[in-house]
């Protein structure tokens, strides 16, 4: 009967990876996860070793320049960069490669729940076993958020910065000053309304920035209440939802979420083309903003913080912290060499990545040089004062500790709210319920 065969193809994709995982499990048992100094290929004159590093940034956007610089200086340790796309399929590919021992020495993780999974699977080396590099001291307070089981299984290397990009010319035209650092969502709404005109939205927001506002509130007031139940319905979260809703449906000063989703709106392009006066996003937009060939624009760009929700909110935290967490595969044959490369990378080797907005986190990296790379030949294009205050400022930040399931559940529920098919009360009620259910089920 044909239905069995047909079904087979469907089931195949689900099952293929699981059977591979089973093979990987066997390897894990035989390979101890603890590094020993002799395990690396430490013979001085032996033939050159090749390290393989997997990262999510396209090779041509900096990583290739990084490894080229290293390879030129270290003929006996050559590094090869391989790109994986940082989405579900890409991370699955990386996890499968790790589980089946495909000779990966170093790899980059971009969010905490994924790192936790990799640590649990025994695929990340405890970097505290090396005593010669103090991550806390080098990377600062923000690094702590990346500790798993009270230790570093990956080195955070870059500063994450989320902020609002401003079209300074549009602001001047409307007679608005660059907003103060502690502005709030009420101010944002007023700004957006004043900046909206024919064929121009006052504000657009990258999908990643949607979460920032809600996370900023919960990171301050707690994701759970004291009794352990979900706090995703914090009054300030509600207020943030409602303000964005009004901006979309009443003021029409920003695109509705439904429209943004279905047109897969490239928000950075919309901002740089002048179709939006303000853009809620992050440092990753520098890659486009510095590219005057594909994104020609003649206005100056200023910067503002992600607004907190209400003026009297004292514990709002700013999205940011550190990112690009690089781990060493415990099964690597060249762990010590990989560690040498990693230290070099974090302390400034990563500089070519700054052109895409990746600012080194290490205090020993030359921030001035990184800044020059970041701004490239387009220095006049930026308002330096707000750039220094916002992009290089010091603020209480957070790293999102929620599991992917909960982040998704929250997004699915607020999508229903912003597309007007669910009331704010039901949205918060369902979000909290799904958060609580998840916590219960994962016990």
């Amino acid at each position: 009967m044909t239905n069995k065969r047909k079904w087979g193809t469907a089931a195949l994709s689900v099952l293929l990876a699981t059977s591979l995982a089973a093979c990987g499990g066997g390897n894990e048992a035989t390979n101890g996860a603890s590094p020993s100094p002799g395990s690396g290929n430490s013979g001085g004159d032996s033939k050159p070793v090749t390290l393989t590093m997997w990262g999510g940034v396209p090779a041509e956007a900096g990583p290739q320049a990084v490894v080229d610089a290293w390879n030129a200086e270290n003929p006996d340790v050559q590094v090869k960069y391989e790109r994986f796309v940082n989405d579900d399929a890409g991370n699955l590919k990386l996890d499968t490669a790790l589980a089946t021992n495909q000779n990966i020495d170093l790899y980059v993780t971009y969010n905490l729940p994924v790192l936790v999974k990799r640590v649990e699977a025994g695929n990340a080396l405890d970097l505290n076993t090396y005593g010669d590099y103090n991550i806390d001291e080098k990377m600062g307070e923000d690094a702590k958020a990346w500790k798993v089981k009270d230790s570093y299984y990956g080195m955070p290397t870059k500063k994450n910065v989320s902020f609002v990009w401003l079209n300074k010319n549009a602001l001047d035209e409307a007679g608005l000053p660059v907003p103060p650092l502690d502005w709030n969502m009420g101010d944002l709404q007023k700004y957006a309304k004043a900046l909206t005109k024919e064929k121009r939205f006052g504000y657009v927001m990258d999908m990643s920035a949607y979460n920032s506002i809600f996370d900023g509130t919960n990171a301050g007031s707690g994701y759970t209440k004291t009794d352990g139940s979900s706090n995703l319905d914090d009054p300030n979260v509600k207020k943030a939802y409602e303000t964005l809703y009004n901006m979309q449906h009443t003021d029409k000063s920003m695109p509705t979420l439904g429209e943004q989703l279905t047109s897969k709106m490239p928000t950075d392009a919309a901002f740089l083309k002048g179709e939006a006066a303000m853009l809620g996003a992050g440092e990753f937009v520098f890659r486009s903003a510095n590219n005057l060939k594909d994104f020609p624009h003649d206005f100056q760009i200023a910067f503002a913080m992600i607004p907190k929700v209400s003026a009297d909110q004292s514990n709002f935290k700013y999205p940011g912290g550190l990112g690009d967490v690089i781990s060493i595969n415990p099964k690597s044959e060249n762990k010590d060499k990989a560690w040498e490369f990693l230290k070099w990378y974090a302390d400034g080797g990563m500089k070519p990545l700054a052109a895409g907005g990746r600012i080194p986190a290490s205090k020993d990296a030359d921030i001035g040089a990184a800044l020059d790379t970041l701004l490239g030949s387009n220095k006049e294009g930026y308002d330096v004062k707000s750039l220094e205050e916002v992009v290089f400022g010091k603020f209480p930040t957070y790293t999102v500790p929620l599991s992917q399931q909960v982040v998704d559940a929250r997004r699915e529920e607020y999508e229903k709210y912003f597309t007007q098919s669910q009331s704010i009360e039901d949205t918060l009620k369902n979000t909290v319920k799904r958060h609580n259910d998840f916590v219960k089920n994962s016990k």
């Binding site: 089931a11 689900v14 439904g258 089920n441």
Partner: protein, 291 residues
Amino acid sequence: MNWNRKQQLTGYLFILPNMIGVILFFVIPALFSLGIMFTNYKYTSPNIEFTGLDNFSRLFQDPIFYQSLENTAIFLAAVPISIALAFFVALALNQNVYLKNMLRTMYFLPYITSGVAVSFVWMLLFQPSQGIINNTLRSIGIANPPGWLSTTDTSMFAIDIIWIWFLLGYNMIIYLAALQEVPQEMLEAARIDGASRWRTVVSVIFPLVSPSTFLLLITGLISSMKTFGMIQAVTQGGPGNSTTILSMYVYQNAFRYYEMGYASAISWVLFAIIFIITMIQWVGQKKWVHY
């Protein structure tokens, strides 16, 4: 070894290459998933515990599972609609109409075009504020055209429209082939008996092509059940969960959350549904399919 045994052995040798693939990539994983659906196995996690029917009790309390069942049902409605449309298009194109060959090609094009590319074109057409569809609707006086993919109430129907259009070409080609097989003498006899055009279609042509209808229904339902790429490209199951069909929910749990145990449970439920639907059709066909 006698001649008969030798013959059998040769036969097995011939199917061996294929069988290795089937066993390795289908039979073993299928049995494996049958086992892990009773565990809390997570991909990459070293811990694996037998949890009995926990995955199923979780499944039957999972509102998103029910929502995806409903979405799947709405999605499957596209199959009979597309088959009915294809039947009439094929009828029309089977006669001597102008530009017959060009029209046939045009209807068939979607089927041979990359599904993802086509999905993106549809997204542009459906764009709520500037898309061609809504601009046309507004220009003919409809002030508030539907939001199509952008609202949870309409998104599944928008997906259905894409799917109907996508299936149409293939269904039409199968019907065209079947219509060529309809014996001219039967149509002539009907004409001589004074049957109207409509009566001929209902009482002569439709019963004669019923094996094709049955084939299209069964293969269409099965392939729709496991559709994934088109929806993933267009909406990723959103907004909310409004376009998450069962096969997508399996993918989400398995490859986004690495919940292999739970995903296996859902996929076996999906299998049961496909199996039951196919069985019902197999039994039901005796009443209306004429070979």
